[in-house]
């Protein structure tokens, strides 16, 4: 009894939070799941029933394997548990198979692998020394941070309703960040290399890792003014880092190199044939660009400046992944987006090199990399915003300025995920969970920083409050108007343009704060 008491009472708020959210995830099992559910079932089947030489060639289903090899091995491992649930789901030809046991297995596989995420959050809480505030538990930065991460709205709906495995992948990333904070650089680099071979979207933040490890790990000392001391370079460290990355890559890609399949693997991983924007526009720069194009073309048609016969009929929001021609503004090529992304990332990288501020500086750079590539990347999914939101949570409990950026970024980013769930039974869930997370995050951070200046200015307050009427219009008013048939894309367009404004604002604000932050000698203290 005493042991039970010790296990459940006292300082066990963390396990209560983690268990609580796990139970909530279990309750979400019967909710709607998207085609990603079938995608992962198909991968289970491919990896289970075919030899490794076929993995990246198999194309019975349209949802071909397009994640790096470690993820394929992960599915392979899962499939060996899956066969005890339902053998049928492991058949490649069993398209769209979803028995109740399949559903249970797949949902539980996400919930169980989330343990890694929980562990990572636990580690992150240890290394974040946020603002020292009141003695009360609910006002401690660690408590707030673990709620913000564990109960993250985006992860809940993307992983446990929509269906994906972002939980444990984000867990890997947070864990590697935590290791860097704890000065266990090799471990951090190893984890990140592994993560890259699970999901290559994390390539976006690789520059931050590379530069940080090179600057702050391979160079062992700084001059007193913080600038680089060239003679402190340690070759041993560089080589060991390189070795780690090389070994992990060899383990992952080696078999395919041996089979002479690398080009095929890469063509699957980087499908540049897809369009600039995803079926639903992610709220980034290109959404604003395309919206501007649309507005200009409508104005042009009204003023008879454009020839209607020359305008391509394909609408960008028709729901298919396809190539798209802009009508007025120049069309965007993959190369252009790549250049834009690089240009957007560069300043933050420079900052990390010339103005190193320890792991916190690295974290800011990482977030900027993630956000910049979200802003300017090719075929960005709206879910990719989680890549910036989760690490940003770590910063939010540290400084009032970061907290304000975090709140704008998360609230708009999360709201932009709403179109993922479009079925009626899930409508209350997404609204309730969103309100729960937003109200909690805003109020708790406000309490944490109550002695400093208010987190939002009037424009930001107005903007965030505007999300409410927008939701009411898109989901409750619009379906009953006559525009529904004529302009079915209006809610999606409004949502992504409105959110794009907020995310651009957060990105800009974060950039300004990183660039203008004085290079305080915080690193010296450490």
């Amino acid at each position: 009894m005493a042991a039970l008491g010790a296990a459940t009472g006292g300082g066990s708020w963390f396990s209560a939070l983690a268990l609580g959210v796990t139970l909530l995830k279990c309750l979400l099992i019967p909710t709607y799941h998207s085609t990603d559910f079938e995608v992962h079932r198909n991968w289970l089947a491919i990896t289970h029933s075919l030899p490794i030489s076929q993995w990246y060639y198999e194309a019975t289903s349209e949802w071909t394997l397009d994640y790096p090899p470690f993820f394929a091995w992960f599915e392979y491992a899962l499939s060996h548990v899956a066969k005890y649930f339902d053998q049928e789901m492991l058949n490649v030809r069993n398209l769209n198979y979803s028995s109740s046991r399949t559903l249970l297995f797949q949902r539980f596989s996400v919930i169980f692998t989330d343990t890694l995420f929980v562990y990572a959050v636990h580690e992150c809480c240890k290394c974040i020394d946020g603002k020292k505030a009141g003695k009360e538990l609910t006002e401690k930065p660690k408590f707030i941070l673990s709620v913000l991460l564990l109960w993250n709205f985006g992860l809940l709906i993307v992983d446990h309703i929509h269906f994906q495995y972002n939980g444990f992948l984000s867990g890997l990333m947070l864990l590697s960040i935590a290791r860097l904070f704890q000065k266990r650089h090799m471990e951090g680099a190893f984890l990140f290399a592994v993560l890259l071979h699970f999901k290559h979207i994390y390539l976006y933040v690789a520059p931050a890792y590379g530069v940080y490890l090179l600057r702050s790990y391979c160079f062992t000392a700084n001059k007193p003014d913080g600038s680089i001391r060239w003679n402190s370079f340690s070759f041993l460290r560089l080589i060991s880092l390189g070795l780690i990355v090389f070994l992990v890559s060899a383990l992952s890609l080696g078999p395919f190199l041996a089979l002479n399949q690398l080009p095929q693997v890469f063509s699957r991983l980087f499908p540049f044939k897809r369009g600039l924007c995803h079926a639903y526009w992610a709220p980034n720069f290109w959404a604003l660009y395309s919206a501007l194009d649309k507005v200009l073309s409508i104005i042009g048609l009204e003023l008879k400046l454009l020839d209607p016969s020359k305008i391509p009929r394909a609408s960008m929001t028709s729901g298919l992944v396809q190539q798209f021609q802009h009508t007025v503004l120049p069309s965007v090529t993959p190369l252009a987006t790549l250049i834009c992304t690089l240009i957007a990332i560069l300043p933050s990288i420079f900052c990390l090199w010339f103005k190193p501020q320890g792991p916190r500086g690295f974290l800011r750079c990482l977030i900027l990399c993630a956000l910049s590539s979200f802003m300017f990347g090719w075929h960005v999914h709206e879910k990719a915003i989680l890549l910036a939101v989760l690490p940003m949570s770590l910063l939010s409990v540290g400084k009032a300025g970061d907290a304000s950026i975090f709140l704008i970024l998360t609230t708009t980013g999360h709201y932009s995920l709403f179109p993922l769930l479009f079925t009626a039974p899930e409508l209350p869930i997404k609204i309730l969970l969103m309100l729960l997370f937003t109200i909690y995050s805003i109020s708790s951070l406000k309490t944490l920083f109550r002695k400093e200046k208010p987190l939002f200015n009037w424009m930001e307050t107005f903007y965030l409050l505007g999300l409410g009427p927008l939701e009411v219009f898109c989901e409750f008013v619009f379906p009953f108007t006559s525009w529904k048939l004529k302009y079915p894309f209006i809610p999606l367009l409004l949502t992504s343009v409105y959110c794009a404004v907020g995310i651009t604002h957060a990105w800009f604000k974060l950039y300004v704060s990183v660039l203008t932050d004085p290079p305080v000698g915080k690193t010296k203290k450490q």
Binding site: A2, T8, W13, L27, T31, L436, I439
Partner: protein
């Protein structure tokens, strides 16, 4: 209140859990010809909107009482009518006379679930929040934790949002009543409680403590002065609210009698299905339902109920206090559940509500009771295919209680409110110091039995000769637990004011 946002978060969490549970199956889904409670509620909408009010409770060519005839008081019928108007606006097929029987669709399920959520949000949840905010002598954090635990109570969530009923309406009104009379808004409180009775006649389980508490208050103020005035006012409120609710049925004598006959179906037998009360458990050994004549069954159950609740009620009338009132609500409802006539397994919710209210005073025992109460409905929940949400919500509730009250550290005599009882026993048996340890062991045994039984039901098939073996076992185990709780709560009530007097003496 500065921690308003945490309370909002708790309410939102409660709502989220409710809605996710409602995505699961409901009673009688896809099971013609009778379906289940879901169809009953839909059928009542059909009846109330299509037939004139005079025919609602009568058998007729358009109203077959054998098929889910209306057997709840008028307020339920009005609520059904209200829902029916909304349903008619959305899709008239849902409530078309005759043709809509057994209507099932995703959209309709969504509509029905939404009606439950809205009723809950309007009546029960505000009452819980207000109740927790009004608690005295505890920190804001504890108030919020208390609200979290009450809102996560799995029994009510599973029956309302899984099985499908509107218990939160009647229980919510009853809670408003408790709030009213506890904070000296006696007239409003009794009005709210009358509404509760007129929504669901089972609320009569709570009526005696209300009556005794208010009567005791009147006595306290002196029956010749203010007390009499209060008594008259109360009587007027009660009569007026009843008349208001029953107005359409009071025009003819036959109407009133017919409604009453529908509300109290005495010829239905001592108990139905498997319910964790004395009679059902006892009939495992001796089939009283078949041996004894009908009127003797009624007599016996009446006597037992009356005798078991008499001491607590007398005590409350003589020493009315809000705390004693809550405990008497528990023990009276429990007596009714265990001994009275024609009890359903869902009636345990009427006991659970007041137990939720004493969560703060006796966290350990309340949590235990609330777990047992949910377990006692297990056969019903399994029939509705609600295993998964049941297990999950029970675990969530347990974690919430364990962390917010640290219940395992609160097992001393004082925390169990058994101090004065043990002192008086120790006068005769000086070595009587092992009570807390016994209770801890009983808790462990009880929880282990419940877990084992659940596992058995889920994994094993019952032997062919005894198809009901497991549900009978569930009833038997729960009934033993409930009997123990009845004794426990009565002990607390009987020794409570003594404790108070002792303290006064010390002061």
């Amino acid at each position: 209140m500065e921690k308003c946002y945490l309370m909002t978060a708790v309410v939102l969490l409660g709502l989220t859990v409710r809605w996710t549970v409602s995505l699961n199956s409901y009673s009688g889904a896809g099971k013609p010809p009778m379906f289940g409670d879901y169809e009953a509620q839909r059928h009542w909408q059909e009846i109330t909107i299509n037939l004139p009010i005079k025919q609602w409770y009568f058998n007729g060519s358009d109203n077959n009482l054998q098929y889910w005839g209306l057997d709840y008081p008028p307020l339920t019928a009005y609520h059904s009518l209200l829902c029916a108007y909304v349903a008619k606006f959305i899709n008239p097929d849902w409530i078309a006379l005759h043709t809509s029987r057994g209507y099932e669709s995703q959209a309709h399920k969504l509509f029905m679930r939404a009606t439950v959520l809205i009723a809950d949000l309007l009546i029960y949840i505000p009452a819980v929040v207000l109740y927790c905010c009004c608690l005295k002598e505890i920190s804001t954090k504890k108030k919020i934790a208390n609200a979290l635990c009450i809102l996560l109570y799995p029994g009510l969530i599973l029956i309302d949002y899984g099985h499908f009923q509107y218990n939160s309406v009647s229980l919510g009104f009853a809670l408003w009543g408790v709030l009213g009379v506890s904070y000296d808004w006696d007239l409003l409180g009794s009005l709210a409680f009358c509404l509760a009775i007129n929504y669901k006649q089972m609320e009569l389980y709570h009526s005696l403590p209300f009556f005794c508490f208010l009567l005791g208050k009147c006595f306290k103020k002196g029956l010749k002065g203010k007390g009499l005035v209060l008594l008259i006012k109360l009587a007027c409120t009660v009569v007026a609210s009843f008349i208001l609710c029953w107005l359409p049925f009071l025009t003819e004598r036959e109407q009133t009698l017919q409604v009453l006959r529908r509300l109290f179906p005495v010829d239905r037998g001592l108990f139905e299905d498997k319910v964790a009360n004395i009679w059902c458990t006892f009939s495992v050994f001796l089939k009283i339902r078949d041996i004894l004549p009908h009127h003797i069954q009624i007599m016996i159950s009446f006597c037992f109920t009356f005798l078991s609740l008499l001491p607590a009620c007398i005590k409350l009338t003589l020493h009315p206090s809000p705390k004693g009132f809550k405990f008497t609500l528990v023990s009276c409802a429990l007596s009714f559940f265990l001994f009275s006539f024609q009890v359903h397994e869902k009636s345990i919710l009427l006991v659970s509500l007041p137990v939720c209210l004493v969560l703060r005073e006796i966290p350990f025992m309340s949590t235990w009771f609330l777990l047992v109460s949910t377990f006692s409905m297990l056969p019903l929940l399994l029939k509705d295919e609600l295993l998964m949400p049941s297990v999950v919500t029970v675990m969530a509730f347990f974690i919430a209680c364990a962390t917010s009250f640290s219940i395992f550290e609160k097992t001393s005599e004082e925390d169990l409110q058994l101090k004065s009882f043990s002192i008086s026993v120790r006068k005769y048996f000086p070595c009587f110091t092992f009570l807390p340890r016994i209770i801890q062991h009983l808790f462990l045994i009880s929880v282990i039995t419940m877990v084992l039984l659940t596992l058995m039901i889920v994994t094993l098939d019952p032997p062919q000769k005894l198809p009901d073996l497991f549900s009978v076992l569930v009833c038997f185990v729960s009934c033993l637990n409930f009997l123990f709780f009845l004794v426990y709560f009565n002990i607390i009530i009987m020794w409570d004011s003594k404790n108070g007097r002792n303290q006064k003496k010390i002061n």
